[in-house]
Symmetry: C2
Subunit: 168 residues, 2 copies
Amino acid sequence: MEGSQLIRARRSIRNYQSGVKIPQEQIQQMLEAAMMAPSAMNSRPWEFVVVESEQVKEQLMEVHPYCKMLKTASLAIVVCGRPDLQASWGGQFWPQDCGAAIENLLLQALELGYGSCWCGCYPVMERVEKIQNVLSIESIPVGIVAIGVPNEHPEARGYFDPQRVKYL
Amino acid sequence: MEGSQLIRARRSIRNYQSGVKIPQEQIQQMLEAAMMAPSAMNSRPWEFVVVESEQVKEQLMEVHPYCKMLKTASLAIVVCGRPDLQASWGGQFWPQDCGAAIENLLLQALELGYGSCWCGCYPVMERVEKIQNVLSIESIPVGIVAIGVPNEHPEARGYFDPQRVKYL
Protein backbone atom coordinates (compact mmCIF):
# COMPACT_ATOMS: atom_id res chain seq x y z
CA MET A 1 0.00 0.00 0.00
CA GLU A 2 1.19 3.53 -0.66
CA GLY A 3 2.85 5.03 2.39
CA SER A 4 0.39 7.88 2.74
CA GLN A 5 -2.56 5.46 2.56
CA LEU A 6 -0.91 3.18 5.08
CA ILE A 7 -0.49 6.07 7.52
CA ARG A 8 -4.17 6.92 7.17
CA ALA A 9 -5.48 3.34 7.27
CA ARG A 10 -3.81 2.31 10.53
CA ARG A 11 -6.06 1.74 13.53
CA SER A 12 -5.43 0.15 16.89
CA ILE A 13 -6.70 -3.43 16.78
CA ARG A 14 -7.64 -5.15 20.02
CA ASN A 15 -9.15 -8.40 18.78
CA TYR A 16 -7.20 -10.89 16.66
CA GLN A 17 -7.73 -14.29 15.08
CA SER A 18 -6.22 -16.58 17.68
CA GLY A 19 -3.81 -19.37 16.88
CA VAL A 20 -2.15 -17.62 13.92
CA LYS A 21 1.63 -17.97 13.67
CA ILE A 22 3.53 -15.12 12.01
CA PRO A 23 6.41 -16.33 9.81
CA GLN A 24 9.89 -15.45 11.08
CA GLU A 25 10.63 -13.58 7.85
CA GLN A 26 7.75 -11.19 8.50
CA ILE A 27 8.75 -10.70 12.12
CA GLN A 28 12.16 -9.69 10.87
CA GLN A 29 10.63 -7.27 8.34
CA MET A 30 8.79 -5.55 11.17
CA LEU A 31 11.92 -5.35 13.32
CA GLU A 32 13.89 -4.01 10.38
CA ALA A 33 11.29 -1.31 9.75
CA ALA A 34 11.50 -0.28 13.39
CA MET A 35 15.29 -0.11 13.21
CA MET A 36 15.13 2.09 10.10
CA ALA A 37 13.65 4.92 12.15
CA PRO A 38 15.79 8.01 12.62
CA SER A 39 17.36 8.60 16.01
CA ALA A 40 19.32 11.38 17.64
CA MET A 41 22.96 11.25 16.48
CA ASN A 42 22.04 7.97 14.78
CA SER A 43 22.41 6.31 18.16
CA ARG A 44 19.64 3.73 17.58
CA PRO A 45 18.79 3.63 21.29
CA TRP A 46 16.55 0.57 21.16
CA GLU A 47 16.23 -3.16 21.47
CA PHE A 48 13.33 -5.53 20.98
CA VAL A 49 11.84 -8.54 22.70
CA VAL A 50 9.65 -10.75 20.51
CA VAL A 51 7.23 -12.66 22.72
CA GLU A 52 5.51 -15.67 21.24
CA SER A 53 5.45 -17.73 24.44
CA GLU A 54 1.89 -17.99 25.74
CA GLN A 55 3.25 -18.08 29.25
CA VAL A 56 5.20 -14.83 28.87
CA LYS A 57 2.22 -13.17 27.15
CA GLU A 58 0.14 -14.15 30.20
CA GLN A 59 2.73 -12.61 32.50
CA LEU A 60 2.72 -9.38 30.50
CA MET A 61 -1.08 -9.25 30.76
CA GLU A 62 -0.72 -9.63 34.52
CA VAL A 63 1.69 -6.73 34.95
CA HIS A 64 0.30 -4.31 32.33
CA PRO A 65 -3.34 -3.41 32.94
CA TYR A 66 -4.14 -2.45 29.35
CA CYS A 67 -2.75 -5.19 27.17
CA LYS A 68 -5.45 -7.83 27.43
CA MET A 69 -5.55 -7.96 23.63
CA LEU A 70 -2.38 -10.10 23.88
CA LYS A 71 -4.73 -13.01 24.61
CA THR A 72 -5.57 -13.38 20.92
CA ALA A 73 -2.51 -11.65 19.42
CA SER A 74 -0.01 -13.83 17.57
CA LEU A 75 2.83 -12.17 19.40
CA ALA A 76 4.05 -9.08 21.18
CA ILE A 77 7.08 -7.04 20.25
CA VAL A 78 8.29 -5.07 23.25
CA VAL A 79 10.19 -2.00 22.11
CA CYS A 80 12.74 -1.00 24.72
CA GLY A 81 14.87 2.10 25.12
CA ARG A 82 18.63 1.98 25.65
CA PRO A 83 19.51 5.28 27.37
CA ASP A 84 23.09 4.01 27.69
CA LEU A 85 23.53 4.46 23.94
CA GLN A 86 22.96 8.21 24.23
CA ALA A 87 24.76 8.70 27.54
CA SER A 88 28.20 9.52 26.10
CA TRP A 89 26.90 12.84 24.78
CA GLY A 90 24.19 13.35 27.42
CA GLY A 91 21.28 12.69 25.06
CA GLN A 92 17.88 11.82 26.46
CA PHE A 93 15.97 11.63 23.21
CA TRP A 94 15.43 7.87 23.39
CA PRO A 95 11.69 7.94 24.31
CA GLN A 96 10.76 9.90 21.19
CA ASP A 97 13.23 7.89 19.09
CA CYS A 98 11.49 4.72 20.28
CA GLY A 99 8.16 6.33 19.40
CA ALA A 100 9.34 6.73 15.81
CA ALA A 101 10.57 3.12 15.74
CA ILE A 102 7.22 1.91 17.05
CA GLU A 103 5.33 3.85 14.37
CA ASN A 104 7.45 2.22 11.65
CA LEU A 105 6.73 -1.16 13.21
CA LEU A 106 2.96 -0.51 13.23
CA LEU A 107 3.01 0.63 9.59
CA GLN A 108 5.07 -2.36 8.46
CA ALA A 109 2.72 -4.70 10.33
CA LEU A 110 -0.26 -3.19 8.53
CA GLU A 111 1.44 -3.51 5.15
CA LEU A 112 1.93 -7.21 5.88
CA GLY A 113 -1.76 -7.55 6.66
CA TYR A 114 -1.54 -7.49 10.44
CA GLY A 115 -3.26 -5.34 12.99
CA SER A 116 -1.45 -3.95 15.98
CA CYS A 117 -1.92 -2.12 19.23
CA TRP A 118 0.66 -0.02 21.07
CA CYS A 119 0.44 -0.25 24.87
CA GLY A 120 2.49 2.40 26.66
CA CYS A 121 4.95 1.45 29.41
CA TYR A 122 7.63 4.07 30.22
CA PRO A 123 7.43 6.41 32.14
CA VAL A 124 5.01 4.44 34.36
CA MET A 125 7.88 3.09 36.42
CA GLU A 126 5.96 0.44 38.34
CA ARG A 127 4.89 -1.06 35.01
CA VAL A 128 8.41 -0.68 33.60
CA GLU A 129 10.03 -2.57 36.47
CA LYS A 130 7.55 -5.45 36.38
CA ILE A 131 7.97 -5.86 32.61
CA GLN A 132 11.75 -5.78 33.02
CA ASN A 133 11.42 -8.65 35.49
CA VAL A 134 9.10 -10.66 33.24
CA LEU A 135 11.42 -10.27 30.24
CA SER A 136 14.75 -10.37 32.18
CA ILE A 137 15.98 -7.17 30.56
CA GLU A 138 17.76 -4.05 31.76
CA SER A 139 16.59 -1.79 28.93
CA ILE A 140 13.45 0.28 29.43
CA PRO A 141 10.20 -0.94 27.89
CA VAL A 142 8.61 1.98 26.05
CA GLY A 143 5.79 0.10 24.38
CA ILE A 144 4.34 -3.40 24.17
CA VAL A 145 3.10 -3.83 20.61
CA ALA A 146 0.49 -6.56 20.12
CA ILE A 147 0.40 -7.96 16.58
CA GLY A 148 -1.93 -10.37 14.85
CA VAL A 149 -4.50 -10.94 12.14
CA PRO A 150 -7.38 -8.54 12.82
CA ASN A 151 -10.68 -9.97 13.97
CA GLU A 152 -12.26 -6.53 13.87
CA HIS A 153 -12.16 -3.94 11.14
CA PRO A 154 -12.70 -0.44 12.47
CA GLU A 155 -12.88 2.20 9.80
CA ALA A 156 -10.07 4.65 9.32
CA ARG A 157 -10.74 7.93 11.04
CA GLY A 158 -9.19 11.29 10.41
CA TYR A 159 -7.99 13.78 12.92
CA PHE A 160 -6.65 16.69 10.94
CA ASP A 161 -7.42 19.62 13.17
CA PRO A 162 -6.58 23.04 11.76
CA GLN A 163 -6.78 24.52 15.25
CA ARG A 164 -3.62 22.65 16.16
CA VAL A 165 -1.57 24.49 13.54
CA LYS A 166 0.05 27.90 13.70
CA TYR A 167 1.70 29.48 10.65
CA LEU A 168 4.67 31.84 10.90
CA MET B 1 5.83 4.50 -2.89
CA GLU B 2 4.97 1.38 -0.95
CA GLY B 3 5.04 2.00 2.77
CA SER B 4 7.78 -0.52 3.48
CA GLN B 5 9.97 0.98 0.76
CA LEU B 6 9.30 4.47 2.07
CA ILE B 7 10.38 3.44 5.57
CA ARG B 8 13.63 2.03 4.17
CA ALA B 9 14.35 4.88 1.75
CA ARG B 10 14.15 7.71 4.27
CA ARG B 11 17.39 9.50 5.13
CA SER B 12 18.08 12.73 6.96
CA ILE B 13 18.67 15.47 4.40
CA ARG B 14 20.70 18.53 5.41
CA ASN B 15 21.03 20.35 2.10
CA TYR B 16 18.04 21.54 0.08
CA GLN B 17 17.33 23.44 -3.12
CA SER B 18 16.82 26.95 -1.83
CA GLY B 19 13.93 29.16 -2.86
CA VAL B 20 11.41 26.34 -3.30
CA LYS B 21 7.91 27.02 -2.02
CA ILE B 22 5.88 24.01 -0.84
CA PRO B 23 2.19 24.22 -1.82
CA GLN B 24 -0.22 24.65 1.08
CA GLU B 25 -2.04 21.47 0.08
CA GLN B 26 1.12 19.43 0.59
CA ILE B 27 1.89 21.12 3.90
CA GLN B 28 -1.54 20.06 5.02
CA GLN B 29 -0.97 16.49 3.85
CA MET B 30 2.15 16.33 6.01
CA LEU B 31 0.33 17.75 9.03
CA GLU B 32 -2.51 15.33 8.48
CA ALA B 33 -0.11 12.38 8.35
CA ALA B 34 1.43 13.52 11.63
CA MET B 35 -1.99 13.80 13.25
CA MET B 36 -2.91 10.27 12.14
CA ALA B 37 -0.30 8.81 14.49
CA PRO B 38 -1.57 6.80 17.41
CA SER B 39 -1.40 8.34 20.87
CA ALA B 40 -2.04 7.18 24.40
CA MET B 41 -5.80 7.17 25.08
CA ASN B 42 -6.19 8.85 21.69
CA SER B 43 -5.26 12.10 23.39
CA ARG B 44 -3.41 13.54 20.36
CA PRO B 45 -1.04 15.51 22.61
CA TRP B 46 0.46 17.68 19.90
CA GLU B 47 0.37 20.90 17.96
CA PHE B 48 2.41 22.22 15.08
CA VAL B 49 4.07 25.44 14.02
CA VAL B 50 4.76 25.79 10.30
CA VAL B 51 7.62 28.24 9.81
CA GLU B 52 8.09 29.72 6.35
CA SER B 53 9.25 33.15 7.53
CA GLU B 54 12.95 33.59 6.79
CA GLN B 55 13.28 35.73 9.87
CA VAL B 56 11.82 33.11 12.18
CA LYS B 57 13.94 30.38 10.54
CA GLU B 58 16.98 32.57 11.30
CA GLN B 59 15.91 32.86 14.92
CA LEU B 60 15.47 29.10 15.20
CA MET B 61 18.99 28.61 13.82
CA GLU B 62 20.28 31.00 16.47
CA VAL B 63 18.72 29.15 19.40
CA HIS B 64 19.14 25.54 18.19
CA PRO B 65 22.77 24.62 17.51
CA TYR B 66 22.04 21.77 15.08
CA CYS B 67 19.45 23.07 12.67
CA LYS B 68 21.61 25.04 10.25
CA MET B 69 20.01 23.09 7.41
CA LEU B 70 17.02 25.42 7.82
CA LYS B 71 19.01 27.92 5.76
CA THR B 72 18.10 26.13 2.52
CA ALA B 73 14.97 24.30 3.70
CA SER B 74 11.63 25.46 2.32
CA LEU B 75 10.14 25.45 5.77
CA ALA B 76 10.26 24.00 9.24
CA ILE B 77 7.45 22.22 11.00
CA VAL B 78 7.95 22.36 14.74
CA VAL B 79 6.18 19.46 16.41
CA CYS B 80 5.20 20.39 19.94
CA GLY B 81 3.91 18.33 22.82
CA ARG B 82 0.79 19.22 24.79
CA PRO B 83 1.21 17.53 28.20
CA ASP B 84 -2.00 19.25 29.30
CA LEU B 85 -3.97 16.92 27.04
CA GLN B 86 -2.82 13.86 29.03
CA ALA B 87 -2.90 15.50 32.45
CA SER B 88 -6.47 14.53 33.36
CA TRP B 89 -5.44 10.86 33.64
CA GLY B 90 -1.80 11.48 34.64
CA GLY B 91 -0.35 10.36 31.30
CA GLN B 92 3.17 11.37 30.34
CA PHE B 93 3.40 9.52 27.06
CA TRP B 94 3.45 12.67 24.93
CA PRO B 95 7.18 12.60 24.00
CA GLN B 96 6.91 9.15 22.39
CA ASP B 97 3.51 10.04 20.89
CA CYS B 98 5.15 13.07 19.28
CA GLY B 99 7.96 10.80 18.05
CA ALA B 100 5.38 8.68 16.21
CA ALA B 101 3.75 11.82 14.75
CA ILE B 102 7.15 13.08 13.56
CA GLU B 103 7.93 9.76 11.86
CA ASN B 104 4.62 9.94 9.95
CA LEU B 105 5.48 13.49 8.94
CA LEU B 106 8.93 12.44 7.65
CA LEU B 107 7.45 9.55 5.66
CA GLN B 108 4.72 11.71 4.14
CA ALA B 109 7.30 14.34 3.19
CA LEU B 110 9.37 11.70 1.40
CA GLU B 111 6.32 10.38 -0.45
CA LEU B 112 5.69 13.92 -1.70
CA GLY B 113 9.29 14.12 -2.94
CA TYR B 114 10.74 16.13 -0.09
CA GLY B 115 13.69 15.48 2.16
CA SER B 116 13.57 16.18 5.85
CA CYS B 117 15.69 16.35 8.97
CA TRP B 118 14.48 15.95 12.56
CA CYS B 119 16.30 18.15 15.05
CA GLY B 120 15.62 17.22 18.67
CA CYS B 121 14.51 19.80 21.23
CA TYR B 122 12.86 18.42 24.39
CA PRO B 123 14.20 17.49 26.94
CA VAL B 124 17.04 19.99 26.43
CA MET B 125 15.20 22.62 28.44
CA GLU B 126 17.37 25.61 27.56
CA ARG B 127 16.67 24.90 23.88
CA VAL B 128 12.97 24.31 24.60
CA GLU B 129 12.54 27.64 26.35
CA LYS B 130 14.30 29.64 23.66
CA ILE B 131 12.22 28.02 20.92
CA GLN B 132 9.04 28.69 22.90
CA ASN B 133 10.03 32.37 22.99
CA VAL B 134 10.82 32.51 19.27
CA LEU B 135 7.50 30.89 18.34
CA SER B 136 5.39 32.45 21.14
CA ILE B 137 4.02 29.10 22.23
CA GLU B 138 3.38 27.39 25.56
CA SER B 139 3.51 23.83 24.23
CA ILE B 140 6.80 21.95 24.33
CA PRO B 141 8.85 21.69 21.14
CA VAL B 142 9.87 18.05 20.69
CA GLY B 143 11.38 18.34 17.24
CA ILE B 144 12.10 20.93 14.58
CA VAL B 145 11.57 19.21 11.24
CA ALA B 146 13.31 20.85 8.26
CA ILE B 147 11.64 20.10 4.92
CA GLY B 148 12.63 20.87 1.36
CA VAL B 149 13.64 19.51 -2.03
CA PRO B 150 16.85 17.48 -1.49
CA ASN B 151 20.07 18.87 -2.88
CA GLU B 152 21.91 15.73 -1.79
CA HIS B 153 20.97 12.11 -2.33
CA PRO B 154 22.52 9.85 0.28
CA GLU B 155 21.85 6.17 -0.30
CA ALA B 156 19.49 4.27 1.91
CA ARG B 157 21.28 2.37 4.61
CA GLY B 158 20.09 -0.54 6.67
CA TYR B 159 20.48 -1.08 10.33
CA PHE B 160 18.83 -4.39 11.07
CA ASP B 161 20.90 -5.72 13.93
CA PRO B 162 19.98 -9.22 15.12
CA GLN B 163 21.89 -8.60 18.35
CA ARG B 164 19.22 -6.12 19.39
CA VAL B 165 16.51 -8.79 19.37
CA LYS B 166 15.61 -11.32 22.03
CA TYR B 167 13.03 -14.05 21.42
CA LEU B 168 10.82 -15.49 24.16
